[in-house]
Symmetry: D2
Subunit: 341 residues, 4 copies
């Protein structure tokens, strides 16, 4: 049910016009006359009313405001599916009691560097390898990734360690290559509203790791998940990775509030990326612990053996020794909130 | 020249290490010892230092902060080209004394509706037709555009009126179709950092209408232009269309400050879209006048004959009669600031 | 009329409980049952329902959301008073056809400097002098103003030029001193929600120049005006002076959208301060023209004879010669939009 | 040491002029000539250079940008005092290993309600009572607090429970009353830059609970602490309570990143208020755990026996039973990160 509030100046004729339009669309109008305004309740399955149709009502004479009652996302909502979604990848289940850590370098730089890092993070307890072959960089003059060569290196690291891999897709034209090598396909923050790319990954069966855009609301993140799910792929992992605010002391503002808010609204698993979120390696440990305490299902953490030689994001990467210490500390926090690692 | 500031605790060895790394890269280090910190000036062509290399310095022991002196964009900067860029399309020149208005509906809905609007806006003084065939919509359930069919209708409207057309591309796979029909290719706000799409339109010769992302800084907008220009296409028109802030009284906050700031930093033309920027039709007129008074080279305005039946963005569209009145008022403002319309 | 939307899980008993509470408060409940939710329309004078009472309904079992229909400000709203408020100060009327310019230095530094600037801005066409005696500074180590001594200097400048003066109050304990010397009392952006100070200036009869807080919504600005008006003083001049956003190219983001939005919502005059709003002197001219084109009733502009020696805000001050040129250009823009200067 | 970067167009004369001004102020200028720009290092105790003086340099001919090296706060910085500040109140120490919880209603409503809540929170493990006698409300028509009557009730609750009390001051004219009854004086978010009020509480010896403003940067929060400390009162407790962002799913965005960032920059204790920060009672538990996991020294939590009858902020208050459960869960998290409760 939706609500249309009329202006104090609305005439009886204008109200009749609105009611007629609603009835033509198959709805029943329920009219409440107040002292100043009339309120029209729209009865029927208003989830079918699109944003465009809402906008069209908005400009009708006599209309002051429209209040929508239903959420604009359906498949992603907990109203639609109340139990938590569990996504099975190899022997791991994301979204259950166990917390998963996706660790690795920002960009894949070479076979030897990646395999070494993969072995280190595995030993420390990570269950997935992360690493970018296609890199979205602010500058056209920055390193853009090894592309398909990088994907092959990633597959080798998986073979060596047994850890499944997550990697980003930036262009629908790369879908075949990425599907061939990745266990999870990542949609980066800057592409969260690249709707064609969402539709492309939605039309395959591979799990999708969907990062929240820098200035995307939680509702918009869920609408992006809905784009993927509307194509038939319901294996979506949501990732909070920092939003853009006025604060400049951190690269972004990691929004941990998003964890309990998402857990209320959706059944999809929620992972947090404190490396991008805070943007400095010394904030990664406290924010990782906080994310787990707030109820996250996993963490994505950048690890690099030599951050000072990293080709991308060295500032926010942990060295393997620091990562190992952090993993121990995280286990204690996970246990304190009834989770496993 | 860049500047590296050391921590008060930096040792002589750490500083030597930094200096050596700079010298290996071909730079000269110029050291100033203060009472507490040492400052290392980097002498040489530091424009070649990438963001990644900067990040790598940032994590070296002893480094507190790096101050970059040069702007990260080059081809787009006024330092590189001091005179305003004029972009010639048909008989029109964008970026010169004359102010251009790009008018039309948000989405192309049908041949008859588009041609009628195109004729109306031409009569009122618009010099370009706008209209979307591929529509980026927040919801997968909203109207997504008529696609290639829409492009053909757009071409017909051009034929009827003689006005060149601007339309959006969302997917690099649509490049041939869009190039075939459009006079200017638009990159929408949500795709401003879709770097592959930027590279695609950069590798052709067609003028590009580049909209600022909802939460993109002015520097990032110029970096996106740089992506296009780095591929060889320097015909880029920048468009301010509202940023996301905490204010909810308007759909977005149209940032007119961007006009003079951009005019200082770049030689590219700057257009303003008050329809998306403010998001309500009754704000379009005052914000259009303000944009011209602040120095904009053009305006993109949504016009629809029946906003209450529009398939997209009816709330922010002007009816042709209101658009006509506005065009008259704009002429007076343009004249007051020494421009023509 | 307000609207209470219930949860799909709300029981009949919960709904009866809500209805009873409404009836106890003197309202009539109008119930519409939809397929999933029940909507309760609250009929009666809901303008008397406070925020606190709304919050109390919000936590009642069965309640999902409350939509408020009426604006939370009354005296400041155009619904309450449809005609523009004209504030008469000396021979000037603020809020009418004539646009007024409040010019002068950020801080009052000395008698000779202020009188010279006052004479210069008068010659150029300014109608009010601005100047701070009490300065709100981010750092306790910055110049805090000449205090009462500054007020006396301001009064001297008025005597010399005949221009009325506006100056800021920061502390309710200074009210007598400020009332003695000022023609308009300014509430600075950082004190926009210093409610005790608002009540203090509201309980006198002197016009108040109320600056929008850096992160205040337009609604909150109007609520601050309401605080003043609720005490009996309706002579409030609103001032947009830039909001805090993610953009760092400008000190603040001057929000010109606020002008037409405020003009729709309130009858109070609206002035713009482009000096603080944009924070750089070379942005003052384009943003001043834009403000007038968008419908502002006045401008507050910082002018200083020697910005490089100013004790505060030198970066954003215009020199008298530049101010004089700007005033000429502004006259042309004012005329183009049907105003006078 | 500070750095002045010149424009490429700066003349030798302009540079000499800058150097002379520096030397007059007692500094030594250290000049590095790059290929395009000259960089002037300012050697000497630049911590004495005020913001105003920096601004004055900024507008000198030839100057492009000034980079400040030193932090603008001193007494509050960890550079000044490396060990954590411990604030002793009664038998409690804030800032040590033990985490403290400040619990109670938003506003003091009556003796019986407050005493009951105070007893409940004490039983659950809270160590301080919070409660407002002077309430900063957005609307002049909302409940403004019981004022001095409320302070007396607060003192009674302290007597009954033995728990020390924290309460807000809004007006310097109330200082005597507040000092008489409170153990800690709170500066609310809206008054964080009410500099006169900061100076007032700084000139007494009572501990100050300083809340971060809704749109205050971390640096500005520390500058506000510096205002208090510059008057001689170094007993300042910082409180993160949510910032204003574009996200509307939560009332504010509780910025937990601020905890580790503050812990790096300052020696002062850091408390988190998840009730105001997130604004909904069901977010309080996860965000409280997260705050402790991230390193907070304490929590301020709103508790009310009957939130649906609360006179203020009922939406975000926990009932005593929920608070008791939360306290147990918090102890487990505190232990996991090496703290006590």
């Amino acid at each position: 049910m939706d609500i249309i509030v009329t202006r104090p100046s609305a005439t009886a004729k204008e109200i009749r016009h609105i009611v007629k339009k609603l009835e033509k669309m198959g709805f029943t109008a329920h009219i409440s006359k107040g002292t100043e305004r009339t309120i029209i309740g729209v009865i029927g399955d208003t989830s079918k009313i699109t944003e465009d149709e809402t906008g069209a009502f908005q400009v009708m004479p006599g209309v002051e405001k429209i209040h929508r009652i239903l959420k604009p996302f359906k498949l992603a909502s907990r109203d639609f599916k109340s139990r938590d979604t569990h996504i099975r990848i190899g022997k791991h289940t994301i979204g259950g009691k166990r917390i998963h850590v996706f660790a690795g370098p920002c960009a894949i730089e070479s076979r030897s560097v990646l395999v070494k890092i993969a072995e280190d993070v595995k030993k420390a307890g990570a269950t997935f390898i992360r690493g970018g072959a296609f890199k979205p960089r602010t500058s056209p003059y920055s390193f853009q990734g090894l592309r398909e060569e990088g994907l092959k290196i990633l597959a080798e690291a998986r073979k060596k360690t047994g850890l499944p891999v997550v990697t980003e897709i930036m262009d629908p034209r790369d879908i075949d290559a990425v599907l061939k090598y990745a266990d999870i396909v990542q949609i980066g923050a800057r592409n969260m509203q690249n709707f064609r790319l969402l539709q492309e990954v939605g039309s395959h069966n591979k799990p999708v790791f969907l990062k929240r855009g820098l200035s995307a609301t939680i509702k918009e993140l869920l609408m992006a998940a809905e784009y993927i799910m509307a194509q038939g792929n319901s294996k979506v992992i949501l990732c909070e990775r920092g939003i853009r605010t006025f604060e400049t002391a951190t690269r972004n503002t990691l929004d941990l509030n998003a964890i309990p808010v998402l857990k209320n609204l959706t059944h999809l698993p929620v992972v947090v990326d404190p490396s991008h979120g805070a943007g400095k390696w010394d904030l990664v440990a406290p924010m990782s612990k906080a994310a787990i305490a707030a109820g996250a299902d996993g963490l994505m953490i950048e690890v690099h053996s030599k951050p000072e030689e990293a080709m991308s994001d060295g500032e926010q990467s942990l060295k393997p020794a620091k990562f190992k210490t952090l993993m121990k500390e995280l286990k204690a926090v996970a246990k304190a909130v009834g989770r496993e690692m």
